[in-house]
């Protein structure tokens, strides 16, 4: 990372923390500032803090897992009355939101037993304090360490999506949950029936489905409905931007961020895909585009060496043949083409929302950009030319100060209720195997 990028990163971090502090300060009492700052840092990023790791004088500020503070929230209210800047939450007529369904869905979301070998819950990739994504790797890793080829997308504001996954292959949250349950490189359950049988065999779930679904037990449908209900409440907005733009508060974002918004909707043309409307903004057009990044990943040639960090301040250049010797076969990623098989859809990926984007690094469908600065630089250069490049992508000629302005704007999109959502997640029980749970070595065995 060059000096400029470092500077931007440090500024980004400071901005995120300062925004976060201002959000927390509403409820924090004087005299407990230290505790509140710690909780704040626990909520806005990995507690295993690595800022400055590139430097030899890197100093840890590691948070302690045992000190996390959970606090349950009235999650249903974030769906009934979405925070400022979000439209009404679309709720399917056949799956109305109830608190029982939401809490059941939350329990399922954090249950590591819902995988073939009891190691993976949804939350092992969608980590609450890491923007409900994973800040610590570019692309996901699933059961038995099997490689995913895509970056874990955040689940903030997924209630509004009509196209789900980076390739847009799924249409409802109720259906979506079964893909990770069954994907061999995610939770790797061998069948739908296996998941249902396992839930039935775990005592903690006794009666919970029946109470939430008018007597219906765990089924493919009710499991999807419960998980969708929880995710439908994870709406994070009322950000400083929302308070300024929709709330008409004057001084909640900086002049630099305001200039950044002008660029976002003007010279930068970002809002052509990341939509901002008069009453609300989802910051996505819910469509798929070819930016050239996928094309490059599929078609580029070996560059010879890779710079690898070994310790704080210690790097080496490793020959790619060395890396190849310990690499398993890497799957290409052709985006929407993998759904439609239309060659014109090669390397098209879904436009992500930019809400809370400062919390969801690394970026792009393959996590290859680690900072927002890298993302802005990519679009400023006009993406990567290829015959299917979206006509919306072109060089932007943004100046250095304009890039800084744009970054300041992007930092202003963290929802004010993020602390509440993360603290609620911290309060959720994590499902790990007990002696009463099903296992072939226990009395409680799944019946097959």
């Amino acid at each position: 990372m060059n000096r400029m990028n470092k500077t931007v990163l440090v500024i980004n971090i400071l901005v995120v923390f300062s925004i976060a502090l201002s959000l927390i300060s509403v409820t924090a009492s004087r005299g407990s500032e230290d505790a509140s700052e710690l909780q704040n840092r626990a909520i806005f990023g990995p507690g295993d803090i690595k800022h400055g790791y590139e430097s030899a004088d890197y100093t840890t500020d590691t948070l302690d897992l045992l000190n996390r503070i959970g606090k349950e929230a009235e999650l249903i209210e974030f769906a009934r009355q979405p925070p400022l800047g979000l439209p009404p939450v679309p709720v399917p007529a056949d799956n109305p939101l109830t608190t029982k369904k939401i809490l059941l869905g939350r329990k399922l979301f954090f249950d590591r037993r819902l995988s073939i070998n009891n190691t993976f819950s949804c939350a092992m990739c969608h980590i609450p304090e890491q923007g409900f994504t994973n800040n610590e790797m570019e692309t996901a890793v699933g059961v038995e360490g099997r490689s995913g080829k895509r970056n874990t997308p955040t689940v903030y504001n997924v209630a509004y999506l009509d196209r789900i996954f980076h390739d847009g292959r799924e249409s409802t949250l109720e259906q979506q949950v079964w893909s990770p349950f069954l994907a061999r490189n995610e939770m790797a359950n061998p069948s739908i029936g296996y998941v249902i049988n396992k839930i039935r065999a775990i005592d903690e779930y006794d009666g919970l489905f029946e109470e939430a679904f008018n007597g219906r037990g765990p089924t493919m449908e009710t499991i999807g409905m419960a998980l969708a209900s929880y995710q439908r409440t994870l709406n994070a907005a009322n950000s400083p931007f929302d308070r300024w733009y929709y709330g008409k508060e004057k001084d909640v974002i900086s002049e630099q961020a305001k200039r950044g918004f002008e660029l976002f909707t003007g010279k930068g043309t970002c809002s052509a895909c990341h939509l901002v409307q008069s009453e609300h903004a989802l910051f996505t057009d819910d469509r798929l585009h070819n930016t050239g990044l996928g094309y490059e990943a599929s078609m580029s040639r070996d560059s010879g060496t890779t710079r690898v960090q070994l310790a704080p301040g210690i790097f080496t250049e490793l020959d790619n043949s060395v890396i190849e010797s310990v690499s398993r076969a890497k799957e290409n990623d052709l985006g929407l083409y993998e759904v439609t098989e239309d060659p014109n859809d090669r390397w098209k990926f879904r436009t992500p929302s930019l809400r809370n984007v400062a919390l969801t690094a690394p970026y792009m469908h393959n996590g290859s950009f680690h900072t927002l600065r890298e993302v802005v630089d990519f679009y400023n250069q006009g993406g990567i030319p290829n015959e299917l490049l979206s006509p919306l992508i072109r060089p932007l000629d943004l100046t250095e100060s304009e890039i800084e302005d744009l970054l300041a704007f992007l930092q202003s999109l963290i929802g004010s209720n993020v602390p509440a959502l993360v603290a609620d997640a911290f309060a959720a029980p994590i499902g790990d195997v007990s002696k009463d749970d099903p296992d072939w070595t226990h009395k409680n065995k799944l019946k097959y």
Binding site: D48, N117, L310
Partner: protein
């Protein structure tokens, strides 16, 4: 426990003082012949003669045999008609990321951990040393420990097994701790690693207190326990090549060694040891108040030592190969006389012998290519027999033609290694051999069982 032969001793129970007296008086503490596999707990019963079996904790591999983890027993006594052959294989279900194992102090049970599934398999190795049986499975390690993931080192303390974990159930990162179990596998206590937010009474000597874990070793004479630091589940389960190319992932390695008060389990000092210090080997000599560790990524030998004033320090004392090429030192093994340190470097498949007579100034005096990749080693107490296995981690092992998976025995005459036999674990449809532990009839007052059979005969 059954009556023991005069060929072995047992040191358990009692205070540090009485232990030292016992060691010094019974076996002559300054002599070389006090250790068996030289890297084991000083509380453990010893094999001081010829080992009969090596128990190899083996990773299952999809497409190889039954594809699941197993404990493989190989006959290694030259007197046996099955010398150099697999005599038993006990499959345990699943690919748990079989990794390290450790014997109880009385050497009756072998605890073997799964870094992925967090199961700990407890094998009975005393009832029939040629044919271990599955005695018990700990399945609730994560729940009992309050969220630790990745049971790694299984280390014998008096009546206890200390388990060092690698990760946690909240972010699959490196923050973790130690967990203590009875020899019967009942959970006793969790000891989380010190972090900046909660140093748990320890002093941060350098800039780093990352809360990561890996190995654990003790120096009872000094009431000292030492731990090292590797990486969390996300990395150790990740494809190695994918991880090397991911700058975010490469930030998630441990850079610390912690010195603890052994009796109180209180961390005392957190040392900055950059580049993932892995195995720890403590010296045996009564005046040798130090331990070695090696850093996987930065390829250095570090000395953790006590000065004349009783203060503990950490110092880098030597390079291993060319650190810029990341030879990746993995397992290490100290000789019983504290004069030598074997270091395996995974990437070039070498074992390297360092003269550590002056522990502050190690000198490499010998190297030998064991295979296309090499990881673990176990040496007999007299240092004459060196056993090697090839596998590092399921998704870190080499690929293609370089993915050799073997168990090999070499003899060491002080100048060179000579191969005695090798078993191809893929050809045998077994999997990927990892850690080795020795077994012997003499430990239990037994003799070879006439009913012993060769596994291959059973399979015919």
């Amino acid at each position: 426990m059954k009556k023991m032969s005069k060929l072995h001793a047992r040191w358990i129970q009692g205070s540090i003082a009485s232990l030292c007296v016992l060691l010094a008086s019974v076996v002559g503490f300054q002599s070389a012949a006090i250790a068996d596999e030289t890297c084991m707990s000083p509380y453990m019963a010893k094999i001081v003669g010829q080992e009969d079996y090596v128990y190899i904790w083996t990773l299952g591999k999809e497409g190889v045999g039954d594809g699941q983890d197993k404990l493989v027993t190989v006959s290694v006594n030259p007197e046996s008609k099955y010398y150099g052959k697999v005599v038993n294989s006990l499959s345990v279900g699943g690919r748990n990321e079989a990794h390290h194992s450790g014997l109880t102090d009385d050497r009756r049970y072998l605890f073997a951990g799964g870094l992925d599934t967090n199961k700990i398999f407890i094998f009975d190795v005393h009832s029939n040393p040629s044919k271990p049986s599955l005695h018990k499975v700990i399945t609730d390690f994560v729940e009992k420990t309050g969220g630790m993931v990745g049971p790694h080192t299984m280390y014998a303390l008096p009546g206890r097994i200390m388990v060092s974990a690698l990760s946690n159930n909240k972010d699959h990162g490196g923050r973790t701790g130690l967990a203590e179990f009875t020899n019967e596998g009942e959970f006793v206590a969790a000891h989380w690693m010190p972090t900046d937010e909660d140093m748990r009474g320890a002093v941060k000597v350098g800039n780093i207190a990352d809360g990561y874990g890996y190995d654990v070793r003790v120096l009872p004479r000094r009431n000292v326990m030492v731990t090292s630091s590797f990486t969390g589940w996300s990395n150790y389960m990740m494809d190695f090549g994918k991880m090397l190319a991911d700058p975010e992932a490469m930030k998630r390695f441990g850079n610390t060694v912690v010195v603890w008060d052994l009796h109180t389990r209180q961390p005392k000092k957190v040392f900055e040891v950059p580049g993932s210090p892995l195995e720890i080997r403590c010296a045996w000599g009564s005046q040798n108040n130090y331990c070695f560790t090696t850093t996987a990524l930065t390829s250095k030998i570090w000395l953790i030592y006590e000065d004349g004033a009783g203060e503990w320090h950490a110092a880098a004392v030597g390079d291993i190969g060319d650190p810029s090429q990341v030879p990746l030192p993995v397992d290490i093994s100290i000789t019983a006389d504290d004069k030598g340190l074997w270091v395996q470097t995974f990437m070039d498949g070498k074992t390297r012998y360092f003269d550590v007579s002056d522990p502050h100034n190690p000198k490499q005096t010998y190297e030998h290519v064991v295979g296309s990749q090499v990881n673990m080693t176990s040496q007999s107490w007299d240092g004459k027999r060196m056993y090697f296995t090839s596998s590092l981690l399921g998704n870190w092992d080499k690929t293609g033609d370089q993915d050799e998976q073997f168990f090999k025995l070499f003899e060491w005459d002080g100048e060179k290694l000579v191969e005695k036999f090798a078993i191809d674990f893929y050809a045998e449809n077994l999997g990927r051999p990892h850690q080795m532990r020795f077994g012997a009839y003499s430990l239990y007052g037994q003799k070879p069982n006439s009913k012993d059979t060769l596994l291959s005969q059973l399979m015919e």
